[in-house]
Amino acid sequence: MKQLLILLLLCNSFLNIKAQHTSNLKGALKDTSDFKSVAYANILAINTSDSVLLKYTHASDKGVFELKGLPPIKIRLLITRPGFADYEDFVTLSEGQTTDIGLVNMLSKSTLLKEVIIKDRIDAIRIKGDTTEFLVDSFLTNKNANVEDLMKRLPGIQVDKDGKITAQGKEVKKVLVDGEEFFGDDPTIATKNLKATQVESVQVFDKKSDQATISGIDDGIKEKTINLKLKEDAKKGYFGKASGGLGTDSRYEHDAMINRFNKKQKISAYGAMSNTNKTGLNWEDQQKFGGSDGFDYYNDDDGNSYMTYNNGDDGFYGVGIPQTWYVGAHYSDKKKNDKHAYSFNASHKEMTVRGFDDNFTQYILPDTFYFNRERNDMSNFRKGNTFSTSYNLALDSFTTLKIKLNASQSEYNRLNVYQSENRNALRSLVNSNRRTQSTDGQREELNSSINLIKKFKLAGRSLSVGFTQRYSSVDDDGFLSSDIRFYSNDSTFTSTLIDQKKLNTGVTENYSGNITYTEPFGKKFFVITDYAINFNQDKNKLTTLAKSGGSDYNLFVDTLSNDFFYKNVVNRGGLSLKYQYKKITSSIGGRISQTDLSQNNRITDSARTQLFINYFPAARFNYKIGTSSSFELSYNGRTRQPSLSQIQPLINNNNPLDIYVGNTGLVQSFSNSYEARYNSYKPLKGSGIWSSLRYSNTYNDFAQKSTVTAEGKRTYQTVNVDGNYSLYGSFYHYFNTKKHGFFFNNNVSFSQSQNVNIINDLNNINTNNSVGLGSRIGKEKEDVYYISLEADWDYTRSETSVRPDVVTDYWISEYDFYAEFYLPKKFVFEFNASHTRRQATSSFDKPINNTIINLELKKKFTEKENWHVSVSVRDLLNENVGFRRSATSNFINENVHTVLRRYFMLTVTYNFSSANKNENKK
């Protein structure tokens, strides 16, 4: 009984639901002309209030139809069929009843003769040809109005509730902004999103169809179009920032920059001064304020794009403490729809770097060791000006011309004070050297290039032609004073003194031209040919003067002076065949180059010419697996010719304990390198693999032949050797744990290499092995926190055949913790701690371990968040050291140098911008 009741209730409720849509509508269709039934006509029931399509059906073969389950409301009945005029009627349906509208007569279009005359209502404000223009400001009432609100006020234009615009009686199909399509096909996007105050005028005209514009054949179809002409100042504005930082130890870091933009014109200026490691504009500021001249962009065959950023060589590589100031300005503009684009950049920079550089080197010799310790106290100053300009011209849609020019001028003075000691295996002093080298000079450079790139209608065919010119000149004067003491035992020594003046001038001129042409054969094959010629000329003059008794340097030292003239002409041609289709990209080919070398020593009046033919074969095969994985095999071969200084060096006694001698018997080397790569990237799983294995070997490789005397004096030269190879493998894997949101990055790498050198006439084979392991785990929540913990371990082992008993091996391990928290009240907290352990070795008896902690607390102020205040400390424990270690042949080196240590800093930054830009940003 109970069950029955439930069942009844269920039925009842079911019926109740159905009862809401129980109205039906039926009818039949007849053609008025031939009285046939009208099959397949579309029958639509449309809600009168919101135009929503409620139900639809198709008329049967006999022309009858029935729409079931309609709500009991007034509906718009629409019956349509090709060849017939639309039938439209309003029907009020009653609940639970079937309304029969009976027989509907469909009017065939062939019998329909009706002329429609559209009356243009032209209440024009300004008529230019067939364009009607409304000036916006005279129609504006509300500052916050959008374009749609504005349109409603313009005479002759109607906007309905859906945003549909009718102008002069016709529906507007397109709304352009400054002549360009704003946003696809939907006109309302532009009208609803643009503010009326940004618009200067509204132009209404008939636009030819796109088809006609493209084909050039007027098909007579014209669309009513509205163009919104924006006010000039809508694209005008400025933004910039000013930042000041003061710290303990009189550290400072100040910068200010501003960018003013007006349509595509950009003018910016910047200036900065600091005595921290911030010696130039960072990537972001360079883009915003410095223009794009330092950026290079290129694509490869696989659809990858790369961009490199070169902010110039300012002479600071992390050794020492820099003190810098610089100012710069940038101007760029684009004209005629980006056809012409030009830019100018100018900057001035001054930098002083002071610090020391400590090198500890172990020489592993067949029968003994030497230990060399050298300290270099340096003070380098450089000031320079740079200027660059570029011009891009789009001649037509297929051809672009790029012209670039840059010039720079710099003055420098360098002072290096070296103190070195050489000790033998028993750690007793063999020699010592104190040496001061000072140089004052200047350098000038001028480079320019012209490139023409032409594409053709035939996809894949392309031509590029380029010319490059480079000029540089160096002119410097310096002094070398040195005192070398050779110890026979610990108490007595003989001393060698050098006191010389050095005058050095050099001019390099280089001109090159290249042409590359690609021709497709079918859709899959391409032939790429290229030819280049390069002309290079060097003039180098070094004059060494000694004192002739008095205090003046007027004694010419011909053994330490030279006057060189060096010229080479390289002709290079290449041919390669590329196959590219769907998953496979492969290519095979190569280049041949001929080098004509001629040199002339004007002091000894000895001339010498040489001819080298170099080969560069290459092959590559790439196979794509899915959209984001690929496998690649590649081979590259190349010959290398010895450099001028290897054959006949400019004689140099800057370090009298380390002398380089030329080798005229050197021949070319040839290397092969093979690589296999596999990359896989799974964005949805959040995982990826990058792996690579590389092998290369070299015949007649260039190597050092050294002779170390009992006094610890080294002379060396370059010779040809066989048996050099290197093997390198790396594997990188990252993944996410979906459940907890952790990310993991892991990498493994190894390398093995063998290189041969000659030490005291003995062939020495060095074998180097290294293994690296790294792992990182982290978690991130956007705008809340970011935490990561990383550990890296590297093991190096180096052996030499002349002393198999001496093995250098050590571990270097590094642990890094980084955390960033976005706290309430616009606070951001950043914490970074890293601990590094460098194991002691047989050569370096002390481990070097340290911990660096950096902290920063930032707060953003004001509603616009344009004030930032930060308090930070770098190297809280004051343990930072500059450190490098290398063990690649029988010279094992450890370098310790000056770096910035603990300082606290308070930084205040103000970001400003014109209101308009601010709105755009939000």
Partner: protein
Amino acid sequence: MLVLSGFTHAQQIMLNGKITYERKYNLLKDLEEQNKDDDDNVWFEQMKKNLPKYKIDLFELTFSKKQSVYNTLQEDENPMLRWYKTITDVSQKTVFESDSTWANRTVYDKTYLIADSISKPIWKLTGEYREIAGHTCRRATTILYDSVYVIAFYTDAIPVSGGPEFFSGLPGMVLGVVIPRMHTTIFATKVNTAVLTEADFVFKSKKKAIRVSREGYRLDLSSNTEQWGKYGNRFVLKALF
């Protein structure tokens, strides 16, 4: 059956045939929108010069009164588009009688089989026309996923309630779709009648495909891209259209 389908005269009704659709995605407009906060971006400036303006893929819809099959005819093979091929292996089968549809979609590394009833959005008719591939089409609009405005054009000359992908639920065949927010249009370029057999409607699901409903597909993509931040939402929308 009436032999009406042999003619392409506008007055005639087509009940079975093949339609070629051109799907155009305006890559540059999309990039422009993503970079509008950072219009000085050098990278973006360069990308604009090197990327093609559109990614154009061709599809074919084979239809009868009873069923339809939608297949990729030609994928855009421009190598520059390598990183913009979010979705591949698109194919779909719809059986009108049983109100069911199956769609293959490979989104990067994940392959889905979306099995569901035929999508029936709430369409509004705006009483406008547009000619597509020689057929007069009526304009209808809807909002999908609560926020994406979609414009569809259907023709009453093909009284089959189908269309490309999930764009259906109108009295006639959908020949055009415009999705302004996704910078995407799908327009028929060729409409032809054809005599079809059951073999023309063969559909194979991909191996290792994950079977989901339309909503399940959306949820799975959302959960997979949760950590991508704002870009994730945009990506999910891209995969849905």
